[in-house]
């Protein structure tokens, strides 16, 4: 497997791993969001979605293990890249102005990534690993979002995720080589849209729940 480690260990290889796992997470977010939207359908719809998900059984486990694996790759590679990038310029510029390439989203990728990591841990403890023997996921969620602090944390986190996706989405295509003058304007627009959809789609849910239930 020497060729594979060599291929993935190089700078472009690491970026490929980031792009592929990142796109997978974008897919996951899309699925997650679709599921969450059942909340708008009410308690029964949401619990039904949760049950259906759990009825997948081993498939779900495979999926979860996959996600963990992808997360490990994305996080470790990301950190590795981040540290290498810092090392590549040991003396910083005194004055560093941008000609207009960088965006808020692109320059904060490592930081938004770490915030998302912390948030995911928090989120999993709250909802996924919560004891559901005597209650339903809907109860847990609506209970949580009766607290303004929870709402605040979730909304803020979703803005961060939106920012991360906004750069990550088009960046993944660029890294995978899918940049063509004919396609790139669409991909760039989609990237902004994806950021907004993720931010608003997830971010509005806690507010909706707290107002509705």
């Amino acid at each position: 497997m020497n060729w594979l480690t060599a291929a993935l260990g190089a700078s472009v290889g690491k970026k490929l791993m980031m792009a592929l796992t990142g796109l997978a997470f974008t897919g996951f977010l899309a699925g997650h969001l679709a599921g969450n939207l059942t909340i708008y359908g009410g308690k029964a719809a949401f619990n039904g979605y949760a049950e259906k998900l759990h009825s997948l059984g081993p498939l779900l486990k495979v999926f979860e293990v996959g996600l963990i694996g992808f997360a490990a790759v994305h996080i470790l590679t990301g950190l590795w890249l981040f540290l290498q990038n810092r090392k590549a310029r040991p003396v910083r510029y005194t004055l560093d102005t941008s000609p207009g390439g960088r965006t808020l989203s692109s320059r904060t990728m490592p930081y938004t990534g770490l915030i998302i990591l912390a948030f995911v841990a928090f989120h999993l403890t709250n909802f996924t690993f919560a004891d559901k023997t005597r209650t339903t996921i809907f109860e847990i969620v609506s209970a949580a979002f009766s607290s303004p602090i929870y709402i605040g944390i979730y909304v803020a986190a979703m803005i961060v995720v939106g920012l991360h996706v906004r750069h990550g989405f088009w960046s993944a295509f660029q890294t995978l080589g899918a940049n063509h003058p004919k396609l790139m304007p669409t991909i760039s627009a989609l990237s902004v849209a994806a950021g907004l959809i993720v931010g608003f789609g997830f971010g509005l849910l806690p507010i909706f729940i707290s107002l509705r239930y």
């Binding site: 060729w3 700078s11 890249l81 005194t94 692109s106 990728m109």
Partner: protein, 254 residues
């Protein structure tokens, strides 16, 4: 029309690679706005020399934007604020009377400072040595017109080949990555039939050499593209990425 302006220059002075370096302030008067930026530095150097101080060392040669020798950070921008312009092509008419200009060398681990504003960019030569060529010995070339190149590809290859190797992309990149430079050479050859036989080896070799030289990784900030004096586009980086994938996963090279 030409007018005269006065400026405060904050210039990085570093006597050798081991020196820590520091900024020094200089005031210059009567700078004609028709001067180029380097001519303005010439004026400073003449004054310093006559005052018994050491002039500021900076790389420059053709002074017409093609050799790639010049380049410093001017107010935080590689080659200054003007789009598609090398430092030698930047003219003082783009500055105002009383401006303060911060002049700093290109900074990257792979570009160590030699003196003042002069940096060592030999890493670029090492990258080219790792595959930035087509292996054709003198004398063994076939008749030129036996090879048809669609003009569209020739144009795109030329867009990439326009790279002057100044290092502005590395200087502008928040990660000090050399991807734009590498991608320009890989793209030029990838787009031409002559370059295809060695495409896989070239992509792998040049990327590895870039890594060994200590450049950072590409985060798609696009700062390189915006700073490139030859306006080389990041579609070339995407093409390099494709070439790299093909080379890594679908070629006998490893």
């Amino acid at each position: 029309m030409s007018t005269s302006i006065s400026l405060t220059l904050k210039i990085w002075r570093q006597s050798n690679p081991a020196d820590k370096g520091r900024f020094k302030n200089y005031t210059v008067k009567d700078i004609s706005t028709d001067m180029s930026f380097l001519e303005m530095l010439d004026v400073v150097n003449e004054q310093l020399t006559l005052a018994g101080e050491e002039p500021v060392a900076f790389d420059h040669d053709c002074r017409e934007g093609i050799c790639g020798s010049c380049g410093t950070m001017v107010n935080g921008r590689a080659h200054g604020q003007l789009k598609g312009t090398t430092l030698c092509q930047l003219h003082m008419r783009h500055f105002k009377d009383g401006d303060t200009i911060v002049i700093e060398p290109f900074r990257a681990r792979a570009f160590p400072v030699i003196k003042d504003l002069v940096v060592d960019r030999s890493a670029f030569d090492r990258i080219i040595q790792a595959g930035g060529f087509i292996s054709v010995n003198t004398g063994s070339a076939p008749e030129a017109n036996t090879l048809l190149v669609p003009p569209h590809n020739a144009e795109k290859a030329m867009d990439a080949a326009a790279c002057i190797g100044c290092g502005g992309c590395v200087a502008a990149c928040p990660n000090a990555s050399a991807m734009l430079f590498v991608s320009a050479k890989v793209s030029q050859f990838a787009l031409l039939p002559q370059g295809r036989p060695e495409a896989a080896r070239r992509a792998l070799g040049m990327v590895r050499s870039m890594d060994t030289c200590g450049f950072g990784n590409c985060s798609n900030h696009r700062e390189c593209e915006k700073s490139c004096p030859k306006e080389i586009a990041i579609v070339n980086i995407a093409r390099l990425n494709r070439e790299y994938v093909k080379a890594s996963f679908a070629s006998p090279e490893s």
